[in-house]
Symmetry: D4
Subunit: 189 residues, 8 copies
């Protein structure tokens, strides 16, 4: 994935800005964690249901020519957007099933995961899934040879491992009662 | 619904001919029960996933001008077709969630029933639902003033009531053991 | 659908006024969006469980003669009302599965979607579904030749497309962080 | 429950003879196990969807006057029959959710179990539930003072306990491998 | 069901007083609606898990001899109580699946509805179900010849029909907007 | 766990011999894999619903005194047996949710996994779970100091690892098409 | 289980300290109820996802040699930890499916209960399940001959039975209305 | 993705050869459709549960250095493999939830889709999902600049569109009755 192209490499598109941004914003947060920039390295679009088909198809059909290397598409409810985009482009598409409630989440998940044979859509789910879709897109760039991002990614992982080891040591040393008090985790009733 | 127009009034469209016809064929069976004719009063289309978006949108955008008064759209799995059609036309759309298994059925049902505010799609499910979607379309024609179809519909209902009354009388008179024997219903083990 | 008749063309009926109105009120909101008037173009009834059978059957049996062109029937829980009404009239019936919780919603949905062959009921679900049932009823009137409503409907859609395009442009131009701040969408933690 | 009255004391009613008898026949089998007779002590009716409302209501409204002491009502799918009957009579009603598949079973169960406050319906499910509904009806007669049925019921239970004790002794003595061979239960692969 | 006996006719038993009373209290409320008295006409027991088996079995085994005509048994979670009681008595048992959340409710429902052939348990669910179980028990007494309760029951139903008719008339006359305002039902957003 | 005691150390008990043995037989198969013997090291009981409470409680109450170190209790449907046994003994109880269908399996699983606080029941599910419950019981014996079983267990694991490594090598060397042919796995259509 | 060894006998390990402690803390509470001590009789570890595989495997592989007699492993979401630990040790492992919501709980439950044949994992669920896992571990120690813990366990059960009997007596004597008032349980609306 | 490297670019790994190959074989079929070769362009591994952790971790840790550009990991049941692999490598991982039954499928889907924040796993499901995972991997290679594969992919899509258009034309021209006869699709009963 050639980040030296002029346009953004990562295209984030969602069904509805106001409903989906609290989840889809996490895609960008993952990219920022790797030093990538909003509106430079990635762009964000939100057609809404009333322009969904028209805009989604236009976006999908022009993505490859515009230099987009991966599309991250999120939608809740009936969640047609990710599948529609995946059907109209050759660019890899990551679908994020957006979750306002467990019931709706499962419905959106079903709309993404059940794509028919011949129309690939890689599925993620919820806030953690949106963040992970961003990380996955970065891994794709690394697999395609982006050395700089590889360094950023390994630094990110190292930070998390260090923090994790520290907490485990504290828990082992203190026991859970003291640890929960120290970190403000509510005690059992 | 003016049946004297030259083109068909009822448009039946499905995601995939080979997969969806065993269910969607029942829409036509209901129309035939009212004396309507295949390829005259109703037409059937099946884009398949590989031409889905293009053909569905073309179909939806031209339906009103071609004289279609109601579209019955069926799909299984992720089931984007009915919602996509409903989003691109002003013609009323009946969605049929197609059912190869309970799990898939619920997924297709979810894709139909969860349409966002502003994009109406009336939902039916399975073989009985496909048949009922045909009857519903006929009721729409009757509500729009088609007297001939009204007569056919009432005759159809009268036949069913008569048959139903006869079976109930037989069961009451014979008791279930004899009745099950007479009609070849397997006895309880 | 002849709106010049003296009685209302749209009949809204629900299982229980106090429980179902927060959802079923949205049917009327959709009709008002098209310039239709409460108590003139549409009427609302709520038998409650204690008069359900009697009133629902009387309503269904007299609807066609009273000039009702479409009935929108809503119910939660066991949700017998829409199916009972659909069984006793030739007028098209739209069922709205009412939703006090995901669990109850699925139950009400099941009671609507599972109508036996021969008794058609078009199903919608929840608040968005109630609104869409209203829009669907308007589409039926348009398909039956109501030119005035056709104009209102197209104006309504145009307003929504315009608003949607504006928000998409803002998001693309600003990026999600600024957009979320501007519109008061809570930032990710 | 006065079995000396002239008409039947137990009324069995189902949505559709041909579909529901394989399950509802088990209600009668339980009654026969207690020495009760088809068409004398109990009667069976099956309105089917096309006469459902009319016949169900007539049945419910006249049941008490005809001497019916308990109604066992079965239905599958949307399963309106048991609730409709329970709403129109003061006679206790046992609903049987009929099961052609797990998915349909849950839907029918939901339609029975979700009756609103003020309209009681005691719910059973499936073939075992239909048989148990018959036993429950007999327990009601016993609670109302029928000594003869009490004797029959206790004999029935004693037979089952004896058989059960014998099988347990065989299993304990032989071990499962020999026991499975003796009774023709397929061995584990 | 002979209410002139000295002990209570209705036995209410639940898995845990503190957890189950908010639901099971509704059984008694239904009985009180018919003029029946706590601790005279009905009694309430709550063994809790730590005495469950012992007390439930003792209760079940002695119920008939103590004059109990119907047992209403409620439990949440794994919900063994109602089935255990139903297995150890010849008295009819009504099980109430208690509901702290949709997930738990379904589990408790499953534990009640899945009783094996030969061990009848009539199932109800939730607060409305607890109230209905009380009404069902009263219907049993009426079917067994209690004329006084029959009068109370018909008066209760008449009150509800009257209230229901009044609300329907108000809604029809006012329209939903005014009605919702009058009764303090929140308007749609 | 002292295997030198005179009675069996492992008690297997199930709701119904004929229904539950196809699953519960796998507990014994796991024990036999470790060289343990039917009717010597382990015993099998099946009370059935008609003697369930009585026999289950007697079994539970006497288990510790009889030298039973672990009880493996299986049941399907409402599945009261494992919880009832766990409530009446201090011996560790492993519950196996038995599975005739996905729907029933989940119900039985729910009855086991939802035990209230204070009544521990370790849950397993289905045929693989029954076998694993047997292995778990053996691990308990090993943790309690049984050196001989420890050796048997490690030999068993080594056999499986060896077989597993061989298949992986074959797949890697041959590719899936040839491997599937060799092992008779049906090719994709 | 030899508690006189120098290290802890009970190993508690969880996926993430901050997320899982509110549930997993209950394991320790059960052990404390039996007089066991944090950091002496039991230890607590929390690798978190970023060190999960490495630490979990190291923990599992060394557990037996360190004198651990039983491992209680908790995790939410995809919940790989308990199964991974169970696969890498011969020590008995109790898995606790951790529950932030019904949806997530079922997912975590599925990850625990579905272990393949040959890799036993005893499953518990939620807060009550975590507490019960602690009690189950104590029962294992008792079955292995720990007399002191047996006494503690029986005292614990006696306390609960006594409290339970007192509440049942109060409810029976007072009736539910008074009892609910006395214990501050909200009255029915 | 540089296909001229000496080792395979696509690594396919599954939980168990004999159970998972009927699904995972479809990954290779998709790659073959693009002219890629088994054992040259892609490799297949199957550790099985008994070597799962060891082999999966070794595979994951060495993948990048061996030139693997994307890993497609499939597993059923508790389905730990894909998540474990994704946690131990920086190479993008596609997880395939394998489906022996609807119930198991959902469990495996849950184990894949619920990965915690920081450990990305792109999820697919079932046979169609395995094939699509193969296509998705090819799209990744195309996005990374592989022109030859781009040509193959577009030819593949063109073939499918042509076939799809032909079937739609036949259906429209013939009507469903004739079409179903011609293609041997069973007629409705």
């Amino acid at each position: 994935m050639a980040l030296e192209e002029t346009g953004p490499s990562y295209g984030i598109i969602m069904g509805s800005a106001d409903t989906d941004l609290p989840t889809m914003h996490h895609v960008g947060l993952a990219l920022q964690e790797m030093g990538l920039q909003e509106n430079v390295d990635y762009e964000e679009r939100a057609p809404s249901v009333h322009r969904l088909t028209e805009l989604a198809i236009e976006y999908a059909k022009t993505a490859e020519a515009r230099g987009i290397k991966v599309i991250i598409a999120g939608a809740g409810g009936s969640a047609h957007l990710p599948g529609m985009v995946a059907s109209e482009t050759i660019v890899p598409v990551l679908g994020v099933a957006i979750t306002s409630s467990p019931d709706v989440m499962n419905r959106a998940l079903g709309s993404n995961i059940g794509m028919p044979k011949g129309k690939p859509l890689a599925t993620f789910q919820g806030e953690a899934g949106a963040f992970n879709a961003g990380l996955f897109a970065v891994r794709m760039s690394i697999a395609a040879g982006n050395i700089a991002l590889r360094g950023k990614y390994l630094e990110y992982e190292a930070r998390l491992v260090e923090q994790s080891a520290e907490r485990d040591s504290q828990l082992l040393a203190m026991g859970s009662t003291t640890y929960m008090g120290m970190r403000g985790i509510p005690r059992a009733k």
